[in-house]
Subunit: 186 residues, 2 copies
């Protein structure tokens, strides 16, 4: 049965999409109101801290999603190779093969980084450490695993930039294929 009264969490996906498409400065409250279907008054009822709290909540939800679906399996799954394989599948789907921007990466480049330094850093640190842990479980030395994890994260972010610049999903697909190979060999 459909819910009449909104919950804070129900608003986050629509808000995330607005921030992804317009950035922090470009995402106006009017636009967020339009895209969530909720009036300004209601938005400020759920987020008294205004736009900054909205973006903060979105980043929180993103980190939670990645923790559940990607970071945790990488950290703890007994089958590390399978966890890495599922990471790549999840990444391709989540970023829609490069058509969807990584909000955290976009925030890292923009002035909004200064507002959300901690959350931006936390997201990438968790990802890097989880991936490195999986690589160690696959038999690699810790320093090599750290270096490799950093390389993979940079390649993902970089190919998201290029995929959007060229408007070409193939760029992202090629990058993912190469990364799987790089991780597989050596």
């Amino acid at each position: 049965m459909a819910k009449i009264v909104s919950e804070r969490a129900d608003l986050l996906p629509a808000m995330a999409e607005v921030f992804r498409e317009h950035g922090f400065e470009g995402a106006s409250i009017a636009l967020i109101s339009e895209r969530t279907g909720l009036g300004k008054g209601s938005l400020y009822h759920f987020f008294p801290g205004g736009k900054e709290e909205m973006a903060g909540a979105v980043l929180e939800e993103i980190e939670a999603w990645f923790t559940t679906h990607i970071f945790a399996p990488l950290q703890w799954d007994s089958d590390a190779a399978s966890a890495i394989d599922r990471m790549f599948r999840a990444v391709v789907e989540y970023f829609d093969s490069g058509r969807r921007v990584c909000l955290v990466g976009a925030f890292a480049l923009a002035s909004s980084r200064d507002r959300f330094t901690k959350q931006v850093r936390s997201y990438f640190r968790m990802w890097k450490e989880a991936l490195a842990a999986a690589l160690v479980r696959m038999g690699r030395d810790k320093p090599v695993a750290d270096h490799l994890a950093e390389e993979v994260l940079a390649a993902i972010q970089g190919s998201l930039v290029l995929a959007r610049a060229f408007d070409d999903r193939a760029v992202f697909a090629r990058s993912m294929t190469r990364l799987r190979r790089v991780i597989g060999e050596r």
Copy 2:
């Protein structure tokens, strides 16, 4: 002797820095006025098209700089290996070892991409083709060179994202070292 009357070109570096730090939406005319030391009236005298023309001119100048210092040597220098070596040196200096954002990359991720699609794409296409041409002159097959050039560009952009997220120049330095090695071997 100091020039009293400003020239359009003299304003571009300061404007570029403002756009880099605040993004397109975040860079207000008031801020640009403050940082260029020129009143709003004068700014609109040089750029009747307003902020969009200012950002467009900045992108133009960036492409011209890269063409002169990086793309042209990659395309035409008889010593391709040396041109690539100088590309890495220039990139490290230009991006201040990862502390300075790539404005074109930031625009590619942001909503401003839609305004500047052509210029964003042109920048990356020129870079990729010039680098691939140098790799071909070094003896690589064309398809391999194309793929490798794409990998290098993505790694540069991605490590700029990570370097800013972690606020750590070492991330960028490690990436450049690895890329030099990757290009050298095989």
